[in-house]
C-alpha cells in the first residue's frame, strides 16, 4: 500500500488521468452551478415580472380577438336618449354624449391597437435587424451608408413626420398607419444592433467561424444572431410600445381614420366633446388606463428579458424577495455573509431556526 501509484485502479489509462486537472475547463473558476435542464428551460416564465407582463398582454390579445363579438352594443349605435350616462348595468362604462356604449368601443378598439402595435413592431424590428446587423457585419462603405440612413431617421422628429405622411395619404387604413410607424421607428433598434454586432464580429468564436471558411450568412445566422436574441426581443417590445403610443396619438389628434375604433379614437371624441369639463370620467379614464396597462405590461416583459439574459442573474435566481428575506445585498468586493450554518454544521436546522426568528 505504500506505493502511491496503486491508487489508480487497473482500468485507468494514464491518458485520462494526466489531463485530470484540465479536463473540466469550463468548470474551472466559474463554479456557477448548472441547474438541471428542466429548471432552466422555463426560467423566463418563472420571473414574476414577465409573468405579470405576459398575463396582461395575454388578456389584451384575447380581448383583441373576441372583443368585437362580446361587445354588448354596437359601438357606433347612437342613442340620443342615453347621452352621457354614468356606468350602469346596461352600460358598464357609461355612454358618450351621443349615447354610444363606451365599454363596447373599448372592446372593439382593442383589436386595432394590438394589430397596429404588433404589426408595426414586427416590421420595424425586422428592418432594424436587417439594417443594423448588416451594417455592423459588413463594415466599410456599406456600414457608412446604412449608419447614415439610420442616423437620418434618428434625428427626424418622428411624430410630426408620421402626422404629415398620414395626412397626405388618402384613406389611411390600418395598413398605412402600420407602415408609416414601422418606417419611422426602426432606426433606434438598428443602431443598438449595429453596435452589438460590431463587438461580436471581432470575438474569437466569430473569427474562428470565418477562418473555418463558413459562409457569411451562416456566420450571421448561427454565430451572431443567437447572441443578439435578447436585444432583438427588447427592441421588439420597445417598438411595440412606441407603435401603440404613436397610433393612439394619431387617433387622439384626429389624424387617423375615425371610423376605426381604437383607444385613441375614444379619447379623441371624449376630448372634442369636453368630457372632462362635464365630469364624464368614465369616457376617458378606462381608455387611458388601458394604454397605461398595456405600456406597463410591455415594460415588465422588458425587465423580465433583462433579468433572463444576464446569465449571472439567471443562474442564481437573483430575485429581490429572496434576497430581502435572507438579508443578502449582492455586491462586488463585499461577499455577503449569512450565518446560517450553525456550529454543529446542521444546515437545515439553522435555516429553520432563522425562519422562526
Amino acid at each position: 500500500m505504500s506505493d502511491p501509484t496503486s491508487t489508480s485502479s487497473p482500468q485507468a489509462a494514464p491518458t485520462t488521468v494526466a489531463a485530470a486537472p484540465a479536463t473540466n475547463g469550463t468548470f474551472s473558476d466559474d463554479l456557477a452551478p448548472a441547474p438541471a435542464m428542466g429548471r432552466r428551460r422555463f426560467l423566463f416564465l418563472r420571473n414574476a415580472k414577465s409573468i405579470l407582463g405576459l398575463s396582461i398582454i395575454g388578456f389584451f390579445v384575447v380581448l383583441a380577438i373576441v372583443g368585437p363579438w362580446i361587445a354588448p352594443h354596437d359601438p357606433n349605435a347612437v342613442n340620443p336618449s342615453a347621452s352621457l350616462e354614468s356606468p350602469s348595468w346596461s352600460h358598464w362604462l357609461g355612454t358618450s354624449q351621443t349615447g354610444q356604449d363606451i365599454f363596447s368601443q373599448l372592446l372593439v378598439g382593442t383589436r386595432g391597437v394590438m394589430v397596429v402595435g404588433f404589426s408595426a413592431g414586427i416590421i420595424a424590428t425586422a428592418l432594424a435587424v436587417v439594417i443594423g446587423v448588416s451594417a455592423g457585419f459588413i463594415g466599410g462603405a456599406g456600414d457608412e451608408v446604412l449608419s447614415m440612413l439610420s442616423n437620418i431617421f434618428l434625428v427626424i422628429p418622428s411624430l410630426p413626420l408620421i402626422i404629415i405622411i398620414t395626412a397626405q395619404i388618402e384613406g389611411n387604413s390600418h395598413l398605412t398607419i402600420i407602415l408609416v410607424i414601422a418606417l419611422t421607428g426602426w432606426a433606434w433598434g438598428a443602431r443598438v444592433l449595429r453596435s452589438q454586432t460590431l463587438s461580436l464580429r471581432r470575438r474569437d468564436f466569430v473569427e474562428a467561424a470565418r477562418a473555418n471558411g463558413e459562409r457569411r450568412w451562416r456566420i450571421i445566422g448561427f454565430e451572431i444572431l443567437p447572441n443578439l436574441t435578447a436585444i432583438i426581443a427588447s427592441t421588439f417590445i420597445n417598438t411595440v410600445t412606441a407603435a401603440v403610443l404613436a397610433e393612439i396619438t394619431l387617433a387622439y389628434i384626429g389624424v387617423a381614420s375615425l371610423s376605426d375604433w381604437n383607444w385613441g379614437t375614444i379619447l379623441y371624441w371624449a376630448q372634442s366633446s369636453g368630457a372632462f369639463q362635464q365630469g364624464a370620467w368614465w369616457w376617458y379614464v378606462p381608455a387611458g388606463l388601458c394604454v397605461a396597462l398595456l405600456g406597463m405590461s410591455l415594460a415588465l416583459i422588458n425587465f423580465g428579458i433583462d433579468e433572463f439574459v444576464n446569465p449571472r442573474l439567471r443562474s442564481t435566481g437573483l430575485n429581490a424577495r429572496t434576497l430581502r428575506q435572507r438579508h443578502i445585498r449582492p455586491r462586488v468586493g463585499f461577499t455577503p455573509v449569512v450565518h446560517e450554518v450553525g456550529a454543529s454544521g446542521d444546515r437545515t436546522k439553522a435555516r429553520k431556526e432563522a425562519d422562526h426568528a
Binding site: M1, S2, D3, P4, T5, S6, T7, S8, S9, Q11, A12, P14, T16, V17, A18, A20, P21, A22, T23, N24, G25, F27, S28, D29, L31, A32, P33, A34, P35, R39, R312, S315, T316, G317, L318, N319, T322, L323, R326, I328, P330, R331, V332, G333, F334, T335, P336, V337, V338, H339, E340, V341, G342, A343, G345, R347, A350
Partner: protein
C-alpha cells in the same frame, strides 16, 4: 527545497479559517461549493493549496477575503486574520469600512492573470503607489515615489522602469510589478492565486524564487494556490489538498509528497513524473471531478477511489489528525506509510 525552510514559520497563526461554508446561488437550491473548510496559516509560512480545477481553491481564498463575486454567498464559519496591529479580527463580521482598511494592509492578493489588471494609460509608479496614497494619505509624493522605487528593487526590476507604461514591460515583469504592488503596505499575508500560470517555465521559476526570497526577507505568510502540485513541493512549507470543496489532506510539504495518506493526494502526486529520484509509474485518478451540485452521500471521493468500501459510500469522513498531529486527513481508510 530542504525541510529547513520550515524554520521561517512560527507558531503564531496569521490566518485561521474555521468551518467555512460557501454557496453559489442565492435561491433555495444553491450549490454548496465549500463545505466546512478549516485551514490555518502560521506566520512566515508558505501554504500551498492544490486540487483539480473546480475543487474550490480560488473560492476558498476569495471567500476568506470576502472578495467572492455574486452569486457567491458565505453561509457560515469564521475567518480570523491577524492584522498589522496584532489584532485578530473575524473578517466575516467586519463592516465595509473596516474591511476596506484591513485589505491590502493586512492581506494582499495577487490575482490570477493579475498582470492584465494594470491600467495601460498610467505609469507603473503611479499604480504601484496608489494603495499607499489611499491607506496613508499623509505620506508625501516624494515618500511614495521613494517607496515605489524600493518596491521595484524588491522584485528585481530596474528602478528606472517606475516611469514605464505597462505595455513597455514583459509579462513576467508585469507580474512582478503586481507582486510588488501587493507588498506595498507590508501585509502579513499574501494570497497568490495561480500567479505563474500565464508565464513560461523560466519565468515561473524566477518568480517562485523571488517569492521565496521575499518571504525570507520580509517574513510574510503566503497562501499559494495552484493546480500544479509539483510547483508547491518547491515552494510550500505546508500543502493542503482540496477535493470537492473540502480539504482532504494537509501536512508538511515534503512528508505529504513522499507519504500521501489520502488516496486522492496519492493519485494527484502520481499524475506527474518526478524530476529527481527513482522513476515511478505514472498513475492518476480515474473518472472526472464530481458535480458539486450532486455529491454522493459518503466520501465525495469514494466513486473514484480504489479503496472505497460501503462505509466510505455512506458516511462522510471528517478530518482526523495522523502522524502525531502533523497531518490532517479526511479519509476512513488512510494509506499507511
Amino acid at each position: 527545497m530542504p525541510e529547513s525552510v520550515l524554520t521561517g514559520a512560527s507558531d503564531e497563526t496569521i490566518l485561521d479559517i474555521r468551518d467555512l461554508h460557501v454557496d453559489y446561488g442565492y435561491d433555495e437550491r444553491p450549490t454548496h461549493v465549500l463545505r466546512g473548510v478549516d485551514l490555518t496559516v502560521r506566520r512566515g509560512e508558505v501554504l500551498g493549496l492544490a486540487g483539480e480545477s473546480g475543487c474550490g481553491k480560488s473560492t476558498l481564498a476569495y471567500a476568506a477575503t470576502r472578495l467572492l463575486p455574486p452569486p457567491g454567498l458565505i453561509t457560515g464559519g469564521e475567518v480570523w486574520i491577524t492584522g498589522a496591529d496584532d489584532e485578530k479580527r473575524d473578517w466575516l463580521r467586519l463592516t465595509d469600512t473596516q474591511l476596506r482598511h484591513a485589505r491590502w494592509s493586512d492581506v494582499a492578493v495577487v490575482f490570477q492573470g493579475a498582470m492584465n489588471s494594470l491600467n495601460p494609460v498610467h505609469r507603473i509608479g503611479r499604480q504601484l503607489t496608489d494603495a499607499i496614497r489611499a491607506h496613508r494619505p499623509h505620506t508625501s509624493a516624494a515618500e511614495r515615489h521613494e517607496r515605489g522605487i524600493e518596491l521595484l528593487e524588491l522584485v528585481g526590476i530596474d528602478p528606472d522602469r517606475i516611469r514605464a507604461y505597462p505595455h513597455e514591460l514583459s509579462g513576467g515583469m508585469r507580474q512582478r510589478v503586481m507582486i510588488a504592488m501587493a507588498l506595498a503596505l507590508e501585509p502579513r499575508l499574501l494570497i497568490m492565486d495561480e500567479p505563474t500560470t500565464a508565464l513560461d517555465v523560466v519565468m515561473q521559476r524566477q518568480i517562485l524564487e523571488q517569492i521565496a526570497d521575499l518571504r525570507a526577507r520580509l517574513g510574510f505568510s503566503v497562501v499559494f494556490i495552484t493546480h500544479d502540485v509539483s510547483l508547491l513541493i518547491e515552494i510550500a512549507d505546508r500543502i493542503a489538498i482540496m477535493y470537492a470543496g473540502e480539504i482532504v489532506e494537509s501536512g508538511p510539504a515534503r512528508s505529504l509528497y513522499h507519504h500521501p495518506r489520502h488516496p486522492y493526494t496519492a493519485g494527484l502526486l502520481s499524475s506527474f513524473p518526478p524530476l529527481h529520484g527513482p522513476r515511478r509509474d505514472l498513475g492518476g485518478i480515474p473518472g472526472s471531478p464530481p458535480d458539486l451540485a450532486a455529491l454522493p452521500a459518503g466520501c465525495p471521493f469514494a466513486p473514484r477511489c480504489a479503496w472505497a468500501d460501503d462505509h466510505c459510500r455512506t458516511d462522510h469522513p471528517h478530518a482526523t489528525k495522523l502522524d502525531d498531529g502533523a497531518r490532517d486527513v479526511a479519509c476512513w481508510k488512510p494509506l499507511t506509510r
